[in-house]
Amino acid sequence: MRKIKYILQKEFIQVFRDKTMLPMILGVPIIQLVILVHAATLEMKSIDMYVIDKDLSSMSHKLINKFDGSPFYNINGVSFSLDKALETLEKNKTDVIVQIPYGFERDLIRENETEVQLLIDGINGTTASLINAYSSAVISGFNRNIMVDLTQMPSVANLEPINIETTYWYNPELNYKIYMLPGILVILVTMISMFLTAMNIVREKEVGTIEQLNVTPIKKFEFIVGKLLPFMVIALFELAFGLAIGKFFFHIPIVGSLGLLFGFTVVYLMVVLGIGLFISTISSTQQQVMFIAFFFMLVFILMSGIFTATESMPPWAQKVNIINPFYYFMRVIRMILLKGSGFRDISYEFFSLLIYGTIMLSLAVWKYRKVA
């Protein structure tokens, strides 16, 4: 046991003596959180809209003003020509074209019914459906007011017997940042700990000092505990630091118990460090580590549910996620922070990772050989 102390001492001296290390531990989370949380947003803020108003009536103006008044829309062109409108669509300058036909107001008054056409750029399916939903909402809002105006009926309640009021739980303002920040934190903690572990041991292989260690009577488990513990500490610090940034800059709610979150993180890190160690045992250069780690990271991150709900993935993908450590942590960190879930709520993820971590670490210990 005393030997572990000496390894820890050595590792910490080396980490803090490395001039690139501190900027990496402190700088990377700030940059990643501040930039990515803002960049990785699905909210539509400025939808560029092209208007073709062939009616030029007061009604059609009212509808256009509805769009113009919304903070989400930005009207970037008006003309009578569909060709001109389509040209801007092809140049990626317009997201949606709204076409109001001739006789719009007349039909609305006489026949109580009329048509409006929306042409939406569908290259990005998610944005397209969002634009569709937003635009439909604007139009139906307009619709409601028109009915009231036309029928001169004072009460809206008569037209809408069931009044739906929606409250969003856990993230009442549907603030996308609150959803994204914990996810990015997961990536951050994982990257730092996995890369540092794998790189550290492979660097000793490259320099040759590992041979000197292998010729000592040090036990495998002492070596591995001594190697992994420093990175577990750094990763936990990273999580605390990232949470602090989230709290002060993004006001993310911390509803659940921080103790539970850190406890869960320790179990999670067993898996991640185990994978890092395993990668280092099968690689002999830092370059190999980079390639292997990047491959796994990329697949795991994209499948983790950081951007997209894992429930909507095909069944085989959901099965693959059983071995995706990100998937568990991504769920749990959001559950604990945003919903305040307790241990019972996350026990499935907790025990899954505990088993996973045990397997990964045993595999790494088994694969690690004290030979040159």
Partner: protein, 243 residues
Amino acid sequence: MIKSTENIIEVKDLVKKFGDFVANDHLTFEVKKGEIFGFLGANGAGKTTAIKILSGLSYPTSGEVNVAGYDVYKEREKVKKNIGYMSQKFSLYEDLTVKENIRFYGGIYGLSNKYIKEKTESLLDRLKMRDIQNSLISSLPLGWKQKIAFSVAIFHSPKIVFLDEPTGGVDPITRRDFWEMIYEASHEGITVFVTTHYMDEAEYCGRVSIMDRGSIEGLGTPVELKGQFNAQNMDEVFLKIAR
């Protein structure tokens, strides 16, 4: 030098193969306790392979190997406790200071804090390196690093120390200093097993074995070998064997 008849290393029919390539072909030799044993051979003759097997870093393909009274197949960790090793590749941590390196390796061998402290002090005095005890290894010249590496390899007072080309790339004065350190260690009762390219160094050894293409072609004291191969010096012995 302590003369002894007790064998501390016994190797019988040691074979190591990498695929079809035979790196060590039926090596048989003994090393006596307290001896300075020179392990000579051209590049690629199989010296490093043999030294790795003796120090428990690699398994032999077949044969009997006994080091410090332990079997290298079954009791590798016990072998490791009783040996020191200085590899061809540089083995100290460049980003740690002289003192930190000594403390780390001392700690890994399970020595007590107090013992490490006392021995470090006397070692720094002996090496006349008190002024640089807090300098990073990376800032020191190669000769100094090699001296420190050797001191670290015998810090835990092993029974045997394996030195794999310890004086490669070192100037003649430092080489002489280095050999003085080897003699000192030998006086303290540590068996020294050393590989080298320099034939003048072979003359310093008690007994010498010369390897060529995986097998031992000559074995004996420098005087015996010169007589056996009818040569003026070890250089000639070596050239006669290697051709």
